[in-house]
Amino acid sequence: MMTYIIRRLMLVPFLLFGVSILIFGMLQFLDPIERASLYIRGDFKSEGQIQAAVKKYCLDCPIYEQYTNWLIGTIDSVSGEREGGILFGNFGWSKTTSQPVADLISHRFPNTLDLTIWAVGPIILIGIWLGVQSAVHHNGIFDQAARIFSIVGTSFPTFVFGLLVLMIFYANLQWFPPGRLSDTYSQVVRSESFHHYTTLLTFDALLNGRIDVFLDALRHMFLPILTLSYLSWATFLRVTRGSMLETLRQEYVTTARAKGLSERDVINKHARPNAMLPVVTLAGFTVVGLMGGVIITETVFDYPGIGAAAAQASAQLDVITVLGFAMFNGFILIVANLIVDILYGVVDPRVRLS
């Protein structure tokens, strides 16, 4: 197992290198002036800005030179300091948010992770529950209702659903506001007495004993979680239901009944765990998807996660930021895949041994 993990980890840099080459290569379809315009925000006023960008980012240099500049940076001739260089942790400067891309990621990612942690529970648990119930009551009323729910869920665009619940639960009822925290609590969090132990807001709030901050954070996360959940439940329901029906047909389920287990135990102890295999894969992808940032949901609910930032950056052709996100997401994806693989072994002993 250990060697397997190490082998997979050793692949990570190569995969990231591949990703970087790919993205970098695609950029070369633009000529230097077009690329320079990517560094200029909005309409520009002075002709020199373009030239300045070409010069500064060495956009008319040979490709390999530009790539190495990006990879290891350049030494400023005057100050003697290294500028840029992704290998030195410098992902470049995010034009759209005016800060280093690395700062942007390290600030935004905890928010996305926090949302992921809280969203994963409802999404997976309720999604699985729906699927199991619908399989257990195969063709019953619950199953039919769930089927309709699932069709509606998959066909609802996130954007429309998000705005709809925002209008109802925020604009009208004012129960669940968008954003990350109310201004009052955002002051609490910024105060010196509030310690940032984990950088995950909800956990820090609890560790600081600030239940009010914790609840306010949840209040802001409610609609994103609801939206993410509703749209994912449909998928979880379908996959779990299918897998569960398949499992309920298995002989060992009958065996379990014959043993004299109660129906609840038959479903919970024998059928469900075995039906979880495809669900674990789905859950893995879901978690990876959430960690990579959920663009539309974060944007609609003004949630300061990595997805909203990525959307903003790409909408404004902030290539450096997008590049940084792509690298980061690639990394997350690779690591998360590894974790899912390991989890798979936990769920299925047959995988564990082979």
């Binding site: 077009e34 002709e47 609590y185 002051q187």
Partner: protein
């Protein structure tokens, strides 16, 4: 495992329910919200729940602006966009500032008064005493001088410093490098540093001798290259802000030495130490900026004037319009930016209308139209930006947008638009009425001249082009595109009227204004003669920008937003600067313009200046290098509980000192 799951899900559900119940007001009084701001959350709920929510803000001391796109930099020397300008304008202060809603009247701020020498080239400012920076130091004349010197030496084309460089170094010298090596090393620190050190020191000394502080007398004397009409207007903007010298140096900004200034030249905002920190003298103190999320200012209780009414001003950067709209409806946003295409949605919720009176140059008394609606609508004030149609006199041969590149009915020759009759024909085929109604829903006015109303040079009675197929046809027949000396209408060998033409009009995808301009033109040209083909082509932004820069498009539709409210800021780019360059305007025409522009800006007597510009206007009308389109009028909203807003269009955003909520 399963138990943990169950407990966890119960916990989540329970928390959600609790969080929901905590909806209307904070769950409990946060005991110690923030040391800096003890008052804020003390009184959480509005007193009377039965009172209509729409009529009062839940938090009268915190002002929230829901907008998109945060500032690029908070360094006044570098900020050149409204998002940053708005913050700077509320935290830093300038020597002079705009007088209320007027764009051309000024009041003393950090300068108590000032004198101008008779020839208009020396300004002496008496610096106000008793003003302190937010971090405690007293503001002195040296701070003022340092701020301006630093700005000029900072330079670079990505900054607004060219607006100050020209008055100090002379017209055309739009960067500090122009007095080092004739602008050769503009934007290139490496090249600049390669200059002889003595030359570099001399340039810096020139700046220092042009801006001299006398701390004992409390004055700053600025010596311009020559008289500069709009100088006061220029320094009233954010790039005229005063920094605390010691603080700035401590942050890592230019140390004030003439030996090292080149190391700070053309610093990009990513490595500029003042990008995300602020220490001004203004009514609000910079609290924090969470990039791309929010920016918060708090009230300066030690302000040299009476403190502001608002305690906190919060910008929320919310990209999605629907979300901003929800915030406005929930009463959580006091100001909110509305994209033009969503105006009808908000108009329906506007219960108060304030219309601009062009004659009085002020908004009329607001009238309540529907007391049940929460928003107030301001409309009708002409803006400070305009989109126009620029003809390219000498199209780049690499262009893909000129068809065959010849006068054969399937393209245009590269010098097509150098024929004044072609330009006039195009101008006569454009329909302003359709443009104003389609693009602006009627909320725009045609511009008769380059500068805006109220500026020297503005002539409301100047003749304008308008859609007239007969004139359009006549001008095409007067054109001589094949250059045989015979106008097209009489040319036996045929000319543009008989052969026709084909060209591609470009716009950047998503910019519907630019797209519609060409579509209107294309339709009318085809009506006049079905051999005239204009195809509209949408390009991605980078490609569009390249075609602009390389003069590849036959004509381009582009916008200008003024930096300072002065005629020069309009004439300069249109007839000699950026746009004239991109149009590759004929050299002798440009020379005529250059002469008029130079004379105009140097003239400080308004009437004399107007006379010079009138001459320029006539030349511009006759030559029509650019078809001037229309200035959109304002259409903005606020919550009806907002009072005291100063609606000055030159402001970057708003000036929150005067604003309060009821």
């Amino acid at each position: 495992m399963r138990k943990i799951f169950t407990i966890l899900s119960l916990l989540i559900v329970a928390s959600m329910v609790l969080a929901a119940c905590g909806g209307a007001a904070p769950v409990e009084d946060p005991a110690d919200p923030a040391p800096a701001d003890p008052a804020a959350p003390a009184d959480p709920a509005p007193a009377d729940p039965a009172a209509p929510e729409a009529m009062g803000s839940s938090d009268p001391t915190t002002f929230t602006i829901a907008t998109f796109g945060g500032p690029e930099t908070l360094d006044p020397a570098l900020a050149y966009e409204t998002a940053g300008g708005e913050i700077i304008q509320n935290v830093y202060e300038t020597l002079v500032f705009y007088d209320g809603i007027h764009t051309d009247k000024f009041v003393p701020m950090l300068a108590e008064s000032w004198e101008v020498s008779d020839d208009g080239s020396v300004y002496t400012f008496n610096i106000r005493s008793g003003v302190t920076f937010h971090e405690g130091q007293d503001m002195t004349a040296s701070d003022v001088a340092y701020s301006f010197q630093r700005g000029l030496l900072f330079g670079g084309h990505a900054s607004p410093q060219w607006l100050l460089a020209e008055p100090f170094f002379g017209v055309g010298n739009d960067d500090i490098t122009c007095i080092v090596d004739g602008c050769a090393s503009a934007d290139d620190r490496e090249a600049l540093s390669a200059n002889d050190p003595a030359t570099l020191v001399a340039a810096c000394e020139t700046v220092k001798s042009a801006i001299v502080a006398d701390d004992a007398a409390g004055t700053v004397t600025m010596t311009l290259a020559s008289s500069w009409g709009p100088f006061i207007a220029t320094i009233a903007q954010s790039w005229g802000s005063v920094l605390d010298q010691d603080w700035a140096i401590a942050q890592g900004a230019w140390d004030g030495s003439c030996d090292t200034w080149q190391n700070y030249y053309a610093e990009p905002s990513e490595s500029d130490p003042l990008t995300t920190v602020m220490n001004g003298t203004g009514p609000f103190v910079f609290d924090h900026y969470t990039n791309g999320e929010e920016l918060v200012l708090t009230r300066n209780d030690n302000y040299w004037q009476a403190p502001a009414a608002l305690e906190r001003v919060v910008w929320k950067y919310v990209d999605e319009w629907g979300t901003r709209f929800a915030m406005a409806q929930a009463g959580d946003a006091d100001f909110f930016s509305v994209p033009p295409e969503n105006r009808s949605q908000v108009d329906a919720l506007s219960g108060e209308l304030c219309e601009f009176d062009l004659a009085a140059n002020a908004y009329k008394e607001c009238v309540v139209t529907d007391d049940a609606q929460p928003f107030r609508l301001y409309k009708g004030r002409p803006g400070i930006a305009r989109t126009d149609m620029f003809f390219v006199f000498d199209i780049n041969p690499v262009s893909n947008y000129v068809g065959s590149g010849q006068l054969d009915g399937n393209g245009i020759p590269l010098d097509f638009f150098s024929d004044v009759h072609i330009r006039k024909a195009f101008a006569s085929c454009f329909d302003w009425d359709v443009y104003i109604s389609d693009v602006f829903d009627g909320e725009a006015v045609q511009s008769p001249v380059i500068p805006l109303a109220g500026m020297p040079g503005y002539q409301a009675d100047m003749p304008v082009y308008s859609y007239d197929p007969a004139v359009c046809e006549a001008e095409f027949k007067l054109a001589d595109v094949d250059k045989d000396g015979i106008p097209a209408g009489e040319d036996p060998e045929g000319d543009v009227w008989t052969t026709g033409f084909r060209l591609q009009a470009l716009y950047n995808q998503g910019n519907t204004t630019r797209q519609v301009v060409s579509e209107i033109l294309a339709g009318n040209l085809a009506q006049v003669n079905d051999l005239f083909n204009v195809e509209t082509v949408g390009l991605p932004w980078p490609t569009f920008l390249r075609t602009l820069r390389n003069a590849e498009g036959p004509y381009f539709v582009s916008g200008w937003q003024e930096d300072i409210h002065d005629a020069h800021n309009w004439y300069q780019p249109y007839v000699v600067g950026t746009y004239a360059g991109r149009q590759r305007m004929d050299a002798d025409l440009k020379a005529q313009f250059q002469d008029l522009v130079n004379r105009g800006v140097a003239e400080s007597d308004p009437d004399a200046r107007a006379a010079i510009y009138a001459e320029l206007n006539q030349l511009f009308y006759d030559q029509v290098p650019t078809a001037l389109l229309a200035v959109a009028t304002s259409h903005g909203y606020e919550q009806r509980w907002v009072t005291g807003r100063t609606l000055n269009p030159i402001f970057s955003g708003d000036y929150y000192y005067t604003i309060s909520k009821k």
